[in-house]
C-alpha cells in the first residue's frame, strides 16, 4: 500500500487535572488519548466517531500539528511532523487543512468572505492578484455560494450553514491532500448537506483528497467513509470497514449510537415511547 499522507503512531495525550480537594494534592494526569494509531491514505475517507469527551477532537488536533503528542508521534508522508522545518513544515501546513465545527468562530469578523478565502491563495499558493479573484469565485461557486452575492459579505451576515461552506471553501483553497473536519456538515440544512457531501466526494476522486471526519452522523459516515474508528475514553474500541461495522457493531457504544440515530420512520415512535416510559429509573 502507498505511504499514508498522515499517520499517528501510538499517540497519547496527557492533560493534568488538579484535584480540588487539597492544596498540595498530587497532580493527576488524565489520558485524553491513550495509545492510538491511525493512518490516512490518499483518497481515503476515515470516520472517527465517539461520544463527547472520548478524545476524538484531541486526536484531530494532534494530527493537525496543533497539539504535540505526549507520547508517540505524528508522521506526514512518512516524516515525523515534530522534526519538520522550512519548506517541509510549510508543505505540511498547506497540505493538511481543517474544517472546524464552529466555523463562525474561525472566521475573521472584519474580513469579507472573499478576503477569508483569498488568504490561503495568497500565502500558501502565492498566486498573482488577478488569479486570486478568479479562484475565490470558483471556490465559492463549488460550495454553492453565488460569488456575486457572497464575496463582499461579512461573516455575521451569513447563516451558520453558509459560514460552514465558507470554511470548506477556505480549506480547499490551499489545495490540501488531507482535510480534518469536525462535524463538517451537521450544521447544514439537509438540502445543502447532500451538495457538500457530493463535492467532497468529487474532490476525493479527482484529486485523491483524503479526509478524517469527526462526526456522530452515521448517515454521513455511510455516505462517504471507507473506514470507521470508534473511540471511547481515549482508546480505540472498534474499527473496521464501514458497511461491515455498521451492520454488525460489536462494541456497546457503537450499538448505542446506531440505536440512537433518529430515522425518518414514525413507526419507531411507539417503540421509543414504550422504552421511554419503561426506562425511567425508579
Amino acid at each position: 500500500m502507498s505511504t499514508p499522507i498522515l499517520e499517528a503512531r501510538s499517540v497519547s495525550q496527557l492533560f493534568p487535572i488538579r484535584s480540588r480537594q487539597r492544596l498540595f494534592a498530587r497532580t493527576v494526569m488524565q489520558r485524553a488519548v491513550d495509545g492510538i494509531s491511525v493512518s490516512i491514505h490518499p483518497g481515503e475517507v476515515v470516520a472517527l466517531v465517539g461520544e463527547s469527551g472520548s478524545g476524538k477532537s484531541t486526536l484531530g488536533r494532534m494530527l493537525l500539528g496543533l497539539l504535540p503528542p505526549s507520547e508517540g508521534s505524528i508522521h506526514f508522508r512518512g516524516e515525523p511532523v515534530a522534526g519538520l522545518s522550512g519548506d517541509a513544515a510549510r508543505r505540511f501546513r498547506r497540505e493538511v487543512q481543517v474544517v472546524f465545527q464552529d466555523t463562525g468562530a474561525s472566521l475573521n469578523p472584519r474580513h469579507t468572505i472573499g478576503q477569508s478565502v483569498a488568504l490561503p491563495l495568497q500565502h500558501n499558493l502565492r498566486l498573482p492578484a488577478g488569479e486570486v479573484g478568479r479562484r475565490v469565485d470558483t471556490l465559492l461557486d463549488q460550495v454553492g455560494l453565488a460569488p456575486a452575492r457572497f464575496r463582499e459579505r461579512l461573516p455575521h451576515e451569513l447563516s451558520g450553514g453558509q459560514r460552514q461552506r465558507v470554511g470548506i471553501a477556505r480549506a480547499l483553497a490551499s489545495e490540501p491532500s488531507v482535510i480534518i473536519a469536525d462535524e463538517p456538515v451537521s450544521a447544514l440544512d439537509v438540502s445543502v448537506r447532500a451538495q457538500v457531501l457530493e463535492l467532497l466526494d468529487r474532490l476525493r476522486r479527482q484529486r485523491q483528497l483524503a479526509y478524517l471526519f469527526i462526526t456522530h452522523d452515521l448517515g454521513v459516515v455511510r455516505a462517504l467513509a471507507d473506514r470507521v474508528l470508534v473511540m471511547q475514553g481515549g482508546q480505540l474500541v472498534e474499527s473496521g470497514e464501514v458497511d461491515a461495522l455498521l451492520t454488525s457493531p460489536q462494541h456497546a457504544y457503537t450499538q448505542r449510537l446506531l440505536a440512537a440515530t433518529p430515522v425518518p420512520d414514525p413507526a419507531r415512535q411507539a417503540q421509543r415511547l414504550a422504552q421511554a416510559l419503561a426506562g425511567r429509573p425508579a
Partner: protein
Amino acid sequence: MLEVRDLSVEIAAGREKLRVVEGVSFSVGRGEAVGLVGESGSGKSMSAFAILNLFPSPHARIAGGDIWLEGRNLRGLSAREWRGVRGAQIGMVFQDPSSYLDPLIPVGRQVAETLRAHGRNEGAEARVLELLDLMELPSPAEVARKYPHELSGGMRQRILIAAALALRPALLIADEPTTALDVTVQAGILDLLTRLRVELDLGILLITHDLGVVAETCQQVHVMYAGTIVEQNEVGALFRQPRHPYSQGLLGSMLGPDSRAGNLFSIPGSVPGARDMPAGCRFHPRCPIFQPGLCDTGEPALVDRTGGGSDRCRRSGEFDNAWRRTA
C-alpha cells in the same frame, strides 16, 4: 389549547418591511407534540418567537393574526401580562443550553429563579429537587449544587427543561433542543420529552430542521418553506406520502441506509430571501413540476385534502414523487 391563526411576522429593515412569516396557522393540543420543520430561513423560529412575543431583535414584530392560548387571545396583551404568560403558561427551551445558564450560579438556584420570579417562594427548594428528579438527573440534591460547567451538555439541557416546566405550563416550546448535542444524548432528551408529554399531558411545539427527530417525537407536522406552511399532516401520513414537491424533496435529501456519495439527492437552488420572494407559489423556481401560468400567479392557498392533511401545491396529488415524475 394553543391555536395560532394567520400569524404574520415583519422585520423592519430601514424603510422596508420584510415579511418573514406569512399567514401561519397551527394548533397544539394537550399531550400532543407538534413539529414545525423547515430549513434555515423558513421562518420556523420566528413563528415560535412570535408565540412568546419574544423576538431576538427589536425590529421584528407580529404584523397580523391571533394567538389563542386556552381560550385567551394573547395578541394585545401588555408587557406585564406577557410576563405572566411566559414561564407560567408557556415554557421554552432553546438550542444551546450553555448560553441560557449563568456560569456563576449553581443550577438548582437557577431553576428556583423561575419560581421566585413568579412569586412562588414557598417550597421552592423542594420543588426544584422534585423537578430535577423528574428530569431523570441522578442524585438531584447533588446536581442542584453544581455549576453549569460541571455538567455535560445533556444535563444542562435537562436543567433548562426543568426550569421551563417549574411552573407547570401546559405548553412547552422547544427550538432545536437537541441540535447541539451528541446523538446518544439527543435520544435521551427526546425520550424525556416524550415521557413528559405523556405523564404531564404536556403540549409540545418542537421546532427543528431534523425530519428524523420529528418522525420519532411528533404526532403532527407542519413543513415550512420561505415563511409559509406548505404542507401539514399527521406524522405517519406525511412521511408515508408527502404531497408537496418541497416535502418530497426534503424527505428525499435525508441520508438513509442506502445513501452513498454519488447518488445523493438535493433540491437545486436555494431558499429565497424575504426581499426576493417569487410571485405565485414560493417554491416554483425550484420545483420540478412547475407549470407556467398555473404556479407563478397568485399565492396558492393551503387546501385541505381528502384523506387528511393539507398542502399548498396546485398540482398536489399528481405525483408520488415529483422529483422522479412517478405518477
